[in-house]
């Protein structure tokens, strides 16, 4: 008897879970039902903005092939929604009237865009029907709307200075649209970046042709376009920003209403423990944007400092991989002892294997790497402290715990800025603007929790023209011919002995007899010798 697994949602995270469960499906260990509300199988939402500016194609965005999944035995239901979950009977009630049974139910419902409270927009988050000329840029249809505006060189107003808004703005500007970013903080990426970094970022956005309207509180949307669509964004100070398309980029909110409806605990997202199980419900799991890892144990130290869902896809994919392994082990356990569908039973076999699977480690704070061509930016962790904030830096430095340290480099004229916030040499936060190599190094050092070199400036120089170290051509004793291992001194000696051509030097010293790459250098030594003789 194979285990019935039902996945609600068919986005990128669900797609990864399905891929990882396929071996169990193929072997008959599990039977898998996937319910997707869109008519398309999973596609890469991260690239919807790219699609919107014409940098990729809808076909290239696909993450799953529904037909191939069906061929593998997966029950794929597209264009259908779950009306409610009947936990007592372990079944889901779908809009098409069917009621698939589940042994394990996985919520992968993702999130939906936040629709700001503006006059002229319907604020109902569950049924966002946006007026013409306004889009939240979430799905393939939204991308098509943006595509049209960009291709027509239209004026695009992006509301929101978060990472997705900036990426959209930059991409649209680079592809020919006239773009304004409207945000309400002092600088863009206000929630993630420090003030100095934000300032350099804003300048860098302007350099890329993006207008930035900061400290702007928007109040309403004007619909005076000929088709009755969007014509301007109205601000609190009475001014208006004219445009042809408004892209709402005000963050996302987990889709939890289905879970709430069946009595599961939710906070920002659906609350799950370290095994991604809904609280007090071993048959239901949640992963990705809709899940919030915070276990029921009030004493759990990890969960005390846990953040809500990150909205990034990387953690969701890691959850999907882990859960697939766990569900597979559970299914193996059920196959061995069918009476026991919990993994709580101690002891051997596959049941024990599921119980002893190490829990998924808590995610580090998310890393933001701006997907953009003209601007390079990476931000991660807490970067609020400045080098001289003595109180902030020494807060929490008790019981031998090292204090925070901040190293900073600012060159606003050239659009470059780096901040490294470390504790005991390990990054707790970073900002890098306009320094691609440095950004790449810092991000992977942050991800690995690795110690920085004591000389932090080493990391700044990665982008400098002095890398790699010069070869010191002036050093006569350096190796001229690597292949044959001949030094400049030996070549010069041969020239002094009378060798006047490269072949003669080669015959005498073997220099230049391998790859021949040093012929120019040998020639240089010969010329230098004879010039010296003439002089």
């Amino acid at each position: 008897m194979s285990e019935q697994v039902v996945i609600v949602g068919f986005g990128p995270v669900a797609a990864r879970l399905i891929d990882e469960l396929l071996p169990a499906v193929r072997s008959g260990l599990a039977h898998l039902t996937v319910i997707g509300e869109e008519s398309d199988a999973a596609y890469n939402r991260v690239l919807v903005a790219d699609l919107g500016v014409g940098r990729t194609t809808a076909g290239a965005l696909a993450l799953s092939d529904a037909a191939a999944l069906v061929a593998d035995g997966v029950d794929v239901r597209l264009g259908v929604r779950v009306r409610r979950v009947d936990r007592a009977r372990q079944r889901v009630v779908l809009t098409d009237g069917t009621t698939p049974h589940y042994d394990r139910l996985v919520f992968a419902t993702g999130s939906r865009p936040v629709i700001p409270n503006l006059t002229g927009l319907n604020p109902d988050p569950a049924h966002p029907v946006l007026p013409a000329g306004v889009t939240a840029l979430r799905d393939l249809h939204d991308a098509a709307v943006l595509r049209e505006a960009v291709a027509g060189g239209k004026r695009v107003v992006v509301l929101g200075g978060g990472v997705l808004g900036l990426e959209t703005a930059l991409a649209a500007a680079e592809e020919g649209a006239r773009v304004t970013v409207v945000h309400n903080g002092r600088h863009p990426l206000g929630r993630n970046i420090d003030r100095s970094g934000g300032g350099v970022l804003a300048a860098s956005l302007r350099n890329c042709g993006v207008r930035v309207a900061g400290n702007a509180r928007s109040t309403g949307v004007e619909h005076n376009a000929p088709d009755g669509g969007f014509s301007a964004l109205l601000l609190e100070d009475g001014s208006a920003i004219d445009g042809d398309l408004l892209v709402l980029s005000c963050g996302v909110r987990p889709r939890t209403e289905l879970a709430e409806g069946c009595g599961l605990s939710t906070a920002t997202g659906i609350l799950v423990d370290h095994k991604l199980r809904a609280h007090h419900e071993p048959h239901i799991f949640a992963i990705g944007d809709c899940a919030e890892v915070r276990c029921p144990d009030p004493a759990c130290g990890e969960c005390r400092t846990a953040r809500g869902p990150s909205g990034l896809v990387g953690p969701g994919w890691r959850q999907a991989e882990w859960l697939a392994e766990y569900l597979t082990l559970l299914a193996e356990g059920t196959a061995i002892c069918p009476g026991d569908s919990n993994d709580s039973a101690p002891g051997g076999g596959a049941v024990g294997a599921a119980a002893s699977l190490p829990e998924l480690p808590m995610e580090k704070p998310g890393v933001i790497v701006l997907k953009a061509r003209g601007t390079n930016l990476a931000v991660a962790g807490d970067v609020s402290a400045d080098p001289w904030d003595e109180e902030v830096l020494s807060a929490g430095a008790v019981n031998g715990r090292a204090r925070l340290q901040v190293a900073q480099w600012a060159d606003p004229e050239h659009g470059r800025y780096v901040k490294m916030t470390t504790r005991a040499g390990v990054l707790e936060g970073l900002v890098a603007v306009g320094m691609p190599r440095t950004a790449a190094e810092l991000v992977q050092l942050f991800e690995r929790g690795a110690e920085l070199p004591a000389d932090r400036s080493l990391l700044l120089r990665l982008d400098g023209p002095d890398q790699p170290a010069s070869h010191g051509a002036a050093d006569a004793s350096r190796t001229v011919c690597r292949c044959a291992g001949v030094s400049g001194t030996a070549v010069a000696a041969a020239v002094t002995e009378g060798c006047a051509t490269v072949p003669e030097v080669s015959a005498a010293t073997r220099a230049g007899t391998g790859c021949g790459g040093c012929h120019e250098d040998i020639k240089g030594i010969i010329e230098a010798h004879f010039q010296g003789a003439v002089a």
Binding site: S64, Q444, A450, G485, G514
Partner: protein, 757 residues
């Protein structure tokens, strides 16, 4: 007496053409080693102390040839000095009860082997006898070794050191193209390319004359080198030569997926080629979708813009002078090496490179006959002509050529790492033959391999020096060096070359063909075994006929005329300089794109969570704190493989006498390591003690060790014998180690050892 012979260098797969001349003063050639040479009591020490030979017997000069164009590297120039080396073994040497090797006659040696084989077979079955071959053997020897193992010894247990080199790329090539020829195009074709992407290959040190073929791409600014180190090859990209991508070790696969992502999403793919000549595109496109450049940047440390730029230059190069993607051991010697090579091939297929007349994908074969050596039956799963041992048609064909019943041909054996793990184990190999391989230094987890060798009932090693492996042998059989024998090798392009004799071998040394023929006689083996290379080659032709690596149209006369014989070269046909112009080698003629993805790495074995006691003890060693770092390994220009030969060349040894651990100054400073200081590099498998060399050419979290040195400096004491599930390739290039300053006691022991030698 031969005064001059046109042959090829004894070392790497570039097989540089050279001419050997006997200086008139030395004619007729003396018989080196005709006086018995006493076995050195401590072989590595003897190697280190080897005095310069009296003078080379032969003069080496470069010969014009399309691959090396007359160029040779230091290894080639000095290669002849080993022919007269005083450490040469010239008689069979038997290890006595006191552990000292003493000369015995050939009759006695062959009798002992025959008895050991028979006794092992009787007691444990035929699979208790094993054979370990090498990529340095000529085609003739490699072919006959496979036949000897399967028919004369009756064992399935044969594999070879190419498992440590080419197996991942070979498996990927077979999967994608249906055939594996390292470079499916002549090397010269690289000359006109606009873009060359080299991953994990440091040709400037490993095969310097190769570098000539990169000049065109460098001039076009299109040489792109992927290497965690700023290697000598990576340095060629400076000053406008191209780009250097420096990913974290172990992330090459992710980087390649990112490149494919850019190619697909930026519309750089060759859609016409993909639809007509490949299969699997849709699944591949879905699989790389999740690897957008910024995400890949976070995983690899390579900036997103460099990833985009690389993809664009490849696509651009393909429309101009041509674009090539070349992989080397750096990306292949991993537990996901097959998938990484597959990702490189997928990228090349997306761009339509293979199958074009001026672009392509290739893997750079390393060992001298690493190509031919992987085609004719030294591999555990393979029969001559690159046939599968499990294929009934292939078995029937070979049974006919060998004139034996098919049932006599054993089934597949064990790949190298598993074979070595089985040494001395119950149901494992108890009696082992080693040819052209120094497994005590070259194998992963070398300490375990040495323990395995010592647990054998009988170990026979064929070598011309007392290598570290030969030192463990019960019986050492002296064999011929390259300038003393005839034969053929297949270079990295799949071109078959003639090796010619320039010198009489020492009186007591024998060809391995002769040894196999005599032993087959004594073992009353079925079929025939010749000691004449040309006779064996004629049989190889028949054996390979109709196989993927078809040599049936090649003979010594063709090669001696200088014809460029690229396989497949069927009888009555011609050679094939460039493969895939019309079709790939799968039944439908299409190349197969196989989606691959990085597997989650198990927690690094060097920080064992289960065996935490060991962890703690290793961390508790006194001295400035040990740091966990990533170890990568590779080569130096001066040395070849385990160094068994090049460490005995005085000029090369003087230039690079010891292993040095390359480390970034910033990392070194944090541990108090100074340039030239002794360091301990250790993990739960072993420990290396050597000097540190500070260099900004390496990433700060990574250290590099060359693998040419034995004993305390043996890098492979630290590498893990975990293997790729498809190819059996071990994990050589991504190991966790603890690095710290060596203790005073350790330092003085190292110094005493080196002084004593």
């Amino acid at each position: 007496m031969t005064k001059s012979a046109d042959t090829h260098c004894p070392y790497c797969a570039l097989q540089c053409a050279m001419t050997l001349k006997s200086p008139a003063a030395l004619t007729p050639a003396v018989q080196p080693g005709s006086d018995p040479v006493p076995a050195p009591p401590a072989p590595p020490a003897a190697a280190a102390a080897a005095p310069a030979p009296a003078g080379p017997l032969l003069e080496v000069s470069g010969r014009d040839f399309p691959t090396n164009r007359g160029g040779l590297c230091r290894k080639g120039w000095t290669s002849a000095s080993l022919l007269s080396h005083p450490g040469r073994v010239t008689e069979p040497m038997l290890k006595d009860a006191d552990g000292v090797h003493r000369p015995v006659s050939w009759d006695e040696a062959l009798r002992l082997i025959t008895a050991a084989v028979k006794e092992t077979r009787d007691r444990y079955g035929a699979d208790a006898v094993g054979v370990f071959g090498g990529g340095g053997l000529t085609n003739e020897k490699a072919y006959q070794l496979g036949k000897f193992a399967r028919l004369a010894l009756g064992t399935s247990r044969i594999d070879y050191n190419g498992r440590f080199c080419m197996s991942s790329a070979a498996a990927a090539g077979m999967r994608a193209f249906g055939v594996d020829r390292g470079l499916p195009f002549p090397l010269e074709d690289l000359d006109g390319a606009s873009t060359i992407l080299m991953l994990g290959s440091n040709v400037a040190e490993t095969m310097p004359p190769f570098v000539q073929h990169l000049q065109g791409a460098r001039d076009a600014g299109g040489l792109i080198v992927v290497d965690p180190r700023r290697s000598a090859t990576a340095a060629f990209t400076s000053d406008g030569g191209g780009l250097h991508l420096q990913p974290l070790p172990g992330t090459d696969l992710t980087l390649l997926l990112g490149l494919s992502h850019v190619v697909i999403h930026e519309g750089l793919a060759d859609t016409g080629f993909i639809s007509t000549r490949t299969s699997g595109f849709e699944a591949l496109a879905r699989s790389v979708n999740a690897f957008w450049p910024e995400r890949v940047q976070s995983l690899t440390g390579v900036p997103a813009d460099l990833i985009r730029e690389t993809a664009r230059r490849l696509a651009d190069g393909a429309t101009k002078g041509g674009a090539y993607i070349l992989t080397g051991r750096g990306v292949e010697q991993h537990i996901d090496g097959t998938d990484t090579a597959t990702a490189a091939i997928n990228l090349s297929l997306l761009l339509g490179l293979p199958g074009s007349s001026r672009s392509g994908y290739g893997t750079l074969t390393g060992q001298g006959n690493g190509q031919g050596g992987r085609e004719h039956g030294q591999k555990a799963d393979q029969l001559p002509g690159y046939r599968k041992i499990t294929d009934p048609a292939a078995r029937a064909h070979m049974a006919k050529v060998w004139d034996v019943p098919e049932s006599l041909i054993p089934g597949p054996g064990l790949p190298a790492v598993q074979l070595l793990k089985s040494l001395g184990q119950p149901d494992g190999v108890r009696c082992l033959f080693v040819h052209a391989s120094n497994i005590a230094v070259a194998s992963p987890d070398a300490n375990a391999v040495i323990a395995g060798l010592r647990s054998l009932d009988f170990l026979v090693v064929c070598d011309f020096f007392v290598s570290e492996t030969a030192a463990e042998a019960d019986l050492i059989l002296p064999v011929l060096q390259w300038a003393e024998e005839e034969g053929t090798l297949t270079n990295l392009e799949g071109r078959v070359l003639r090796r010619r004799r320039a010198l009489q071998p020492p009186a007591g040394a024998r060809s391995e063909l002769w040894i196999m023929a005599r032993l087959a006689e004594l073992l009353e083996a079925p079929s025939t075994y010749s000691e004449d290379p040309e006779t064996v080659f004629e049989e190889l032709r028949l054996a390979s006929a109709g196989g993927l690596a078809d040599y049936s149209g090649i003979d010594y006369a063709i090669l001696d005329r200088g014809e460029a014989a690229y396989w497949p070269f069927p009888a009555g046909g011609t050679g094939t300089p460039r493969l895939f112009l019309d079709a790939f080698a799968h039944a439908d003629g299409k190349a197969v794109m196989t989606p691959v993805a990085p597997r989650r790495r198990r927690p690094p074995a060097a920080t064992p969570d289960r065996d935490s006691s060991r962890d703690i003890s290793a961390r508790d060693i006194p001295g400035p704190g040990a740091k966990t770092m990533t170890l990568i390994t590779g080569r130096l220009l001066e040395h070849y493989q385990s160094g068994a030969q090049t460490r005995r060349v005085s000029e090369l040894f003087a230039s690079q006498p010891e292993a040095k651990m390359q480390i970034h100054p910033a990392a070194a400073a944090s541990m108090g390591v100074t340039d030239g200081a002794f360091v301990s590099v250790a993990n739960e498998r072993g420990e290396v003690l050597c000097r540190a060399e500070l260099s900004t050419d390496i990433r700060p979290e990574t250290v590099f060790l060359p693998f040419h040195f034995p004993e305390l400096e043996s890098a492979n004491r630290l590498t893990e014998a975990a293997t790729d599930p498809i190819s059996g390739m071990p994990e050589f290039k991504f190991n966790k180690v603890w690095v710290r300053v060596a203790t005073n006691a350790q330092q003085s022991s190292v110094l005493q050892t080196s002084e004593a030698s």
